[in-house]
Structures are given as structure tokens and as C-alpha cells.
């Protein structure tokens, strides 16, 4: 069939995935925005823990007051980091290149998504001094702290999944950010008293309880207490990979 064509290099899915991952991850650090992002995340994560959560005044060597605000932070910052995933490719016209290079949309999407998640992990890792500070001041349970970090990272992935969908629908990073943020913000609000009261007026208590389970904090809390439960982990991963899958389908069916 193709006996007269030039031999081509064999398919190497991992090489293509690796190339996309490296480009995307490095892409975050090519602009000053990444450094602003990391600084803002750190400043807010630490300020909220100390000044709003009264981490120091509590006198307890624990980071649960630090992780308490992470759903809010990720709801804002994961869409900020994820807005460029597809919107920027559409704006620059490079999506046409990506889709005509010998790589599947799924390989591209996974490489991009994991690079963005790794970038968020970097932001989270930069907060480690707060853990060491708590370790210096008292005797925290390091297992619980580790579990909290794991939960926060999974929560970031879930918000990124939502951000990926928002980014796949537009060529404007601003629109992608705003819609991603609003959707994540809704998941933060679920489980908070105000929304519960509103819902209780219209729905049965069983339904309200089911909805409450979808809240980000409700699922992060067990991690911050050191309770490694499969259900919240499955929740975060489901949202993350459902977002990844849906955004990929949207790009594929352009």
C-alpha cells in the first residue's frame, strides 16, 4: 500500500506525550505570570492560615487551618493556570498544528493536563516551609500533614478538570478563567451554611445532604484530619478526569 513512501519513525506515544508535557510545563515559566502565580498562591495560603485561620494563636501543631482555605485558593488559581490549556492554542492558531501532527488528541490532552497539574503541585510544594515551621514550633503528626497535602493536590486536580472544560470552549483565556472560576466557586459554596439553608427550603434533607457531598471542602476535610478514605479521593479524581475527558471530546469534535 505505502511501499513507495518514505519510511517514517515508528509510533512512540510516550515520546509524543513527553514532548507535550515538557513544552507545557516549561511554558508556564516562560512568562512572568507563573512567578506571579506562585507568589500569589503562597502569600494567600500563608496569610489566610495565620491571619484568618489564627494558626499561631490556636497553639495546635496542625495544618488543618492552613488546608481549610485551599478549596478557595484552588477555585481561583486552578482556572487561572488552566485557562491557557486550549484557549491559548485556539487564539494562536497552534491547535491546527497540534491536530495535524502525528499525535492523538488524547495524548496531547493528557500531556497538557498533567503538566498543568505538576505546575500546581509546584505551587503547593512551595508552601512546605509552613509545615516545617509547625514542626519547629511543636510536634505535629507528619502523616496527617502529608495526607493534607495529598488531599490539596487532588482538590487542585479536580478544579483543573473544570478549568480544562472551560478552556476547551473558548479562544479567550479571560472567558475561560471566569467561567472556570464560577464553576469551581459553586463547588466551594456547596456544603457551606448559606447555600445549605437556601437549598433546604426547596429540597428534601436527603437531597441536600447528597448535594453537600459534592462540595470541595467536604471532600478535602477527611484528608486534613489524616483520614485516608477512598471516597473523597475517588471524587476528586473523578472530577479531574471527567473534566479532562470532556474537554478532550470538545476539542476532538470541533
Amino acid at each position: 500500500m505505502s511501499d513507495t513512501t518514505t519510511p517514517v519513525s515508528p509510533s512512540n506515544s510516550f515520546a509524543a506525550f513527553g514532548a507535550i508535557f515538557r513544552r507545557e510545563f516549561a511554558g508556564y515559566f516562560r512568562t512572568p505570570l507563573a512567578y506571579v502565580f506562585l507568589a500569589v498562591f503562597n502569600a494567600f495560603a500563608i496569610s489566610l492560615a495565620f491571619f484568618v485561620g489564627n494558626l499561631y494563636e490556636s497553639g495546635i501543631a496542625s495544618l488543618d487551618r492552613f488546608f481549610l482555605y485551599h478549596p478557595w485558593l484552588w477555585a481561583f488559581l486552578a482556572p487561572a493556570a488552566g485557562a491557557r490549556l486550549w484557549a491559548e492554542e485556539r487564539r494562536q492558531g497552534t491547535l491546527e498544528l497540534l491536530l495535524t501532527w502525528p499525535v492523538t488528541v488524547w495524548q496531547t490532552a493528557l500531556g497538557k493536563f498533567l503538566a498543568a497539574w505538576a505546575f500546581l503541585a509546584c505551587a503547593l510544594l512551595m508552601t512546605l516551609p509552613i509545615a516545617f515551621t509547625v514542626g519547629w514550633l511543636g510536634s505535629p503528626d507528619w502523616g496527617v500533614i502529608l495526607s493534607g497535602y495529598l488531599g490539596s493536590l487532588l482538590c487542585a486536580g479536580a478544579c483543573l478538570g473544570i478549568a480544562a472544560i472551560a478552556s476547551s470552549l473558548t479562544r479567550s483565556q479571560v472567558i475561560a478563567f471566569v467561567t472556570g472560576f464560577l464553576a469551581c466557586f459553586l463547588l466551594v459554596l456547596v456544603g457551606y451554611g448559606v447555600l445549605d439553608e437556601l437549598l433546604s427550603g426547596a429540597l428534601s434533607s436527603g437531597t441536600v445532604d447528597e448535594i453537600r457531598r459534592l462540595g470541595l471542602w467536604r471532600n478535602l476535610e477527611p484528608f486534613t484530619l489524616g483520614l485516608l478514605d477512598a471516597r473523597p479521593a475517588a471524587y476528586f479524581l473523578s472530577v479531574a478526569f471527567a473534566g479532562l475527558g470532556l474537554s478532550t471530546l470538545i476539542v476532538e469534535r470541533r
Binding site: M1, T6, V8, S9, R23, T100, P102, V103
Partner: protein
């Protein structure tokens, strides 16, 4: 074997039929000039051949591989530069070509990048961010990513659009050098390119093929190519 085959391609955008029963085949050594007014269906046909868009019906075949059924294999044999030569502006030329080489899984990517930089006369700007380049250089970067793997099939959407005469000459020179070994489709508004570059002409208007003939036959239609173009596409 034809390296590019379009078989009864149809594509609509809502109520607008952008590509209407387009069929042709391109063999190795042929440089096909795709002519037509704006919105005639040239770019859409190219997007169908490159797998960027899916046809409503019909088949696009590149190097023997159905673009819809075996996209990765088809795309390995394909080099494509979309209109406006999009690229990652924040990368340097060398980084961008290295990315293209890595993504294609090419052996000895550093050597391929070096050779392509030389071929496309980009070595002097290899360390510059693509964003900072003039349009002529950016078009050449788009061309470079399309030829880095020495593909059998080359599809170029307006590769000389907006270039000055020297830059046009340069792109045509590179293309002529490699044309004998490839099947090439070049879309253009520039009628003089037919005589200088193409071996065959396909004129498209309102989504359909109006003429498909050798360069010689096309040039015999009249001395005023603009007049010929208007008649064919009216």
C-alpha cells in the same frame, strides 16, 4: 500510487456548503497550485486532507492511509503549514523545531533541527523568540516545521502571503528544490506563482473544482491570468 487522494469530499458549515464533491489525486513530483477567491473552499479542502477537519462524507487519503481511519500514520507522512504559519511565539525558533522533531519521534532530532534551520535559512535567528521575528521569518518557521521530517506530502496554505518579493523568491526556491521528491499542494492568490512554481493547477470556487489541468494548459487559456481567473471563478 497517488500520494494525496481526495475522493468525493463534502463539508458544510451549517447551511453553507464549503466543499462540494471535490475529487482529485496528486502524485509524487507534482506541485499543485490551489487557486480560488477567498471563501472558495481552498483552506477547508486542505483542512480535510490534513485531518484538521472531518469531512461530512467522502475520503481523504495521504500516502495510502485514510486520514479519518489511520490519522497518526497519515500525519507521519504529512507536512502542513496552515494559513498564517501559526507557531508558539514564546519559544525560540530552535526550541520550536526541536519540539516538532520530538513530537514526531524523529531519530537524531538535534541534527534534523540543524539541517532544517540551514535549509530554510533560519540559522541566524535560531535563538530568537518567534514572536520577535518579521513576517517573512515567521512564514519560514511555519514552513520549517512542515519539512523537518522530510515528508512525502506537503500541504501549504498560502505560504507566500504577505511576503516581499525577495522573501517570496526564497520560499519558492526552497520549495522547488524539494518538489521532485514530494507531492505538494500550495494554495495561493498569486497567479504568477502558477508559472513559477506549479506543475498543475486546480481552481476552486464556491466549494467545487472549476478546472484541473497542467500548468501549460492553464497558461494557454490566455495571457491575462487575472481575466482567466475571473472567468473561471465567476
Amino acid at each position: 500510487m497517488a500520494l494525496i487522494e481526495a475522493k468525493k469530499l463534502f463539508k458544510s458549515y451549517g447551511a453553507i456548503r464549503a466543499v462540494n464533491d471535490v475529487s482529485f489525486a496528486v502524485n509524487r513530483g507534482e506541485v499543485v497550485g490551489f487557486l480560488g477567491p477567498n471563501g472558495a473552499g481552498k483552506s477547508t479542502t486542505m483542512k480535510l486532507l490534513t485531518g484538521h477537519l472531518r469531512a461530512d462524507s467522502g475520503q481523504a487519503v495521504v500516502a495510502g492511509f485514510d486520514v479519518a481511519e489511520e490519522p497518526v500514520l497519515a500525519k507521519k507522512h504529512l507536512g502542513y503549514s496552515p494559513e498564517g504559519a501559526p507557531a508558539y511565539g514564546e519559544m525560540t525558533v530552535r526550541e520550536f523545531l526541536r519540539f516538532a522533531a520530538d513530537l514526531r519521534g524523529l531519530s537524531d532530532p538535534a541534527e534534523k533541527v540543524k539541517n532544517t534551520l540551514e535549509l530554510c535559512r533560519l540559522t541566524s535567528v535560531a535563538a530568537q523568540n518567534i514572536d520577535t521575528l518579521s513576517k517573512g521569518y515567521r512564514m519560514r518557521v511555519g514552513f520549517a516545521q512542515a519539512v523537518i521530517h522530510d515528508p512525502d506530502v506537503l500541504i501549504l496554505d498560502e505560504p507566500t502571503d504577505g511576503l516581499d518579493p525577495n522573501q517570496k523568491f526564497e520560499v519558492r526556491r526552497i520549495l522547488k528544490d524539494m518538489a521532485a521528491r514530494k507531492a505538494v499542494i500550495v494554495s495561493t492568490h498569486i497567479l504568477e506563482e502558477v508559472g513559477e512554481l506549479c506543475t498543475r493547477v486546480i481552481v476552486i470556487a464556491q466549494g467545487g473544482i472549476r478546472c484541473d489541468e497542467s500548468r501549460e494548459k492553464f497558461l494557454q487559456r490566455g495571457t491575462d491570468l487575472n481575466q482567466v481567473f475571473r472567468q473561471l471563478t465567476a
